[in-house]
Symmetry: C2
Subunit: 472 residues, 2 copies
């Protein structure tokens, strides 16, 4: 069972078909004037239109890179160079992908011997809360007159927490600061949030082949190529264009997007099950990440007294491929900067990310195997651990389907005390008035209204789930 789609997705069947066809039809150099070259160019143009349409961009705003990392590097360095007149200040969240952090690190600590920023840029890092989420106000507070670029991921790659991109984009627009949104984990799965100035993504995360990233730059956004440019990809990405892989990437993006609605709801429910059951099955475990504002397919938890790599190896032996720690530094065994920034447990960390099509039975099998594996790893320690108990990660579901308002609100008021502070309640209701009543009740009582989701995600057969986080 491959439960590590957040690292790379298996090639989508549509991508494989498109790749095979494009190796036949689009193998020539698209810059050439003869027939096979013109044909490659047409395929490339069509792929660009497809990707632009799915990501909400214009075709001439899209450049194809060789990877998501290259897209981030070119996007950040190009925007910083293009907006140099504003100043050399960069803002990013503490939980960005390592590719963002690496650029920021070099930007902030000039290494002129390695072609670094000789003037010395400055960098501000936006902290996150315990769920891995930035506050939009907190982000806005770090924007300055000399800020040349702000960077925020659409959703976190390790814990799945969705960031308040549209709100942050609003603040950036007011401050006239370009915002780069790294959509690597969400592109193809959910709509790209509005308001970006630059957008980056990676095809192998959505079932495309490796070797294709996307850098979109909105018309009018200042950009100066950080590398010696040629005439390929609008002067943004030097080097020969990988037409067959781009064609396959576009085909799979369209296919994945079409399957998203159905698969997202299904995976959301499976992840919800993991989130709820793991703390019931494994002692001393912490499920991390935002329980509600999250990607449908990612769930991360940490097990006390256990080494993440050992856990990984044992789960691999049991037939489950999962990831641990920071997604791009696992081979160097650095503790995850994401978990550290969240202030949560970093040891014994497991990230489960479900591919489209994951069967319920395989998730159940994982939930059977996991407690045994963790217990096996802990056994030599001779610890006397308390029985597992629910944590704040659990969501209390109140089924008020078929009940007329104000009954759903009354049930909410009665039972919210059953979850600890920080915990979440999902009220399932099909009376339309609940959509107004529940947020209003939250406002009055100082509780946090989180949002609305399909009731199906929480086991309901109709209606909506209204999510409330207990703050006090």
């Amino acid at each position: 069972m491959y439960f590590d789609v957040a690292s790379t997705a298996p090639l989508h069947p549509v991508a494989r078909q498109a790749l095979t066809a494009a190796l036949d039809e689009g193998w020539a150099d698209p810059a050439r004037l003869y027939r096979s070259g013109r044909q490659a160019r047409m395929l490339l143009d069509a792929a660009r239109e497809t990707v632009a349409a799915v990501l909400g961009a214009r075709a001439d705003e899209i450049a194809f890179t060789a990877s998501g990392t290259q897209a981030v590097q070119l996007g950040m360095l190009g925007a910083l160079a293009g907006n140099r007149r504003r100043g050399g200040h960069l803002v990013h969240s503490a939980v960005e992908h390592s590719s963002v952090l690496h650029v920021a690190e070099r930007w902030g600590s000039p290494r002129p011997e390695a072609g670094g920023e000789a003037d010395g840029g400055s960098v501000s890092v936006v902290p996150v809360d315990r769920t891995g989420r930035v506050s939009a106000d907190g982000f806005a507070g770090l924007l300055r007159a000399d800020t040349a670029l702000a960077v925020l991921q659409s959703a976190n790659h390790e814990v799945g927490t969705v960031q308040p991109v549209e709100e942050v984009a609003g603040f950036c627009r007011e401050a006239q600061v370009p915002l780069l949104v790294d959509a690597a984990q969400s592109a193809g799965r959910v709509d790209v949030p509005a308001g970006w100035s630059l957008l980056t993504a990676s095809a192998h995360k959505w079932g495309g082949p490796p070797g294709v990233g996307v850098l979109a730059v909105r018309k009018g956004v200042r950009y100066a190529s950080p590398l010696p440019a040629d005439e390929r990809e609008g002067g943004r990405v030097p080097g020969y264009v990988n037409v067959p892989a781009i064609v396959a990437a576009a085909a799979s993006l369209r296919a994945v997007r079409a399957e998203a609605e159905q698969e997202n709801a299904r995976l959301h429910a499976l992840v919800e099950r993991i989130r709820a059951r793991v703390p019931q099955l494994v002692p001393e475990v912490e499920v991390v990440g935002d329980p509600v504002r999250r990607l449908p397919h990612i769930v991360t938890f940490s097990c006390l007294y256990v080494d993440g790599e050992v856990l990984l190896t044992e789960l691999d032996r049991a037939g489950f491929a999962v990831s641990s720690g920071s997604s791009c530094t696992s081979s160097t065994l650095t503790p995850s900067h994401v978990l550290a920034a969240m202030g949560v447990l970093t040891e014994g960390n497991v990230r489960v990310s479900l591919p489209y099509g994951t069967a319920e039975a395989d998730v159940e099998r994982f939930l059977t195997v996991l407690p045994e594996v963790v217990a096996g790893v802990r056994a030599p320690l001779g610890l006397d651990l308390p029985a597992p108990k629910a944590t704040t990660a659990e969501t209390l579901v109140i089924d008020a389907l078929g009940k007329r308002c104000p009954l759903p609100v009354i049930e909410l008021a009665k039972r919210i005390g059953e979850v600890p502070a920080g915990g979440t309640v999902a009220v399932l209701a099909d009376d339309e008035a609940a959509r107004l009543d529940i947020p209003a009740w939250c406002e009055m009582r100082g509780q946090e209204y989180v949002g609305e989701a399909p009731a199906a995600d929480f086991g309901g057969d109709r209606g909506s789930a209204y999510l409330v986080r207990r703050t006090t």
Copy 2:
């Protein structure tokens, strides 16, 4: 007929097979610890061993990039940064690929607003002769105490002229200047010349898939990553590693190298035929590039009074895909910097580059079609052109097979006057003494001894061809 393999080679059947297999077996992230990740890592390691063996490098000297251009950019900028203590001086030939020129241009004209070299590097350009070849002494003369990097291609991408890399490498070694050899056009076809400090190549030129370049850095050569690095590819190439394409690239490199000896001789003879016949068939044409020290598969000529793009279009209509002008700027219609540096005609330029397996009959058909196409394009001009005549590009073949020395030398002395100054004579001989006699005669008579080739390249059935260029 696809006669533009110097732009990109059709995917080799072995590459296609390997790609299909590697998409099944090597799709996972090679940095991951579970089974599919380890399997991808093993395939990647094996591919690295293969490429290293063919290119004459150690496996740990090889890093895979996303393109030949990326290899050149990282290689040049990384070596310049790593050798900054020596100074900021860069030397390259006037006929390098545009990717080299673009880096040099930015290095030489600082654009700090685009992350350019703030201190301002300096650049020296080594001129070439009319055949497109640098003189090793001329190259050496530009090396200075503050030279941080020298760059020389193994062979020219537009005219096929082979450069004196080993001699230049000797001078660079003496001067302790690292030498980057851009082997994009020759890798896989002929052995990589010895003496490089950094080596670059591109898989789609040898029948591998697009999306794979090679950057080799010799142990001990100073290198500092010009981009924010991660732990992939030894810290030299940031971003997700494209294992399936790399596996396919390695498989095709090995296959192509195994076929090279036989195919090179065959293509060499076909190109020799084009070199000799075009000036006999088309009036006012100049065949360019070194007639002898050249790649086996490339031939370039320029037709007076004709626009290259029009010629290309007409040849395309007639079923021939060829290239014109500078290999990476044809879409912008800039005159070729290579031809300009050689001081030869740039108008009406056609580059023919033959893929492995090109049939003799197709070359003959090209030689039938070409004069008609050129005449058709010239017709509206109403020119009264002289009949075609042999140019200096023609090689006079003296068949002295079966004749004992000194007869081969006597025939050479008698007939060298039949070619104009600059023209070449190929003496076919099977008496071993000719190997000493002919160079000695050249020395005495002030003619240029060019080298030895298989007599088969010039229609002989045994023995060697001794090549002499008439200098006076």
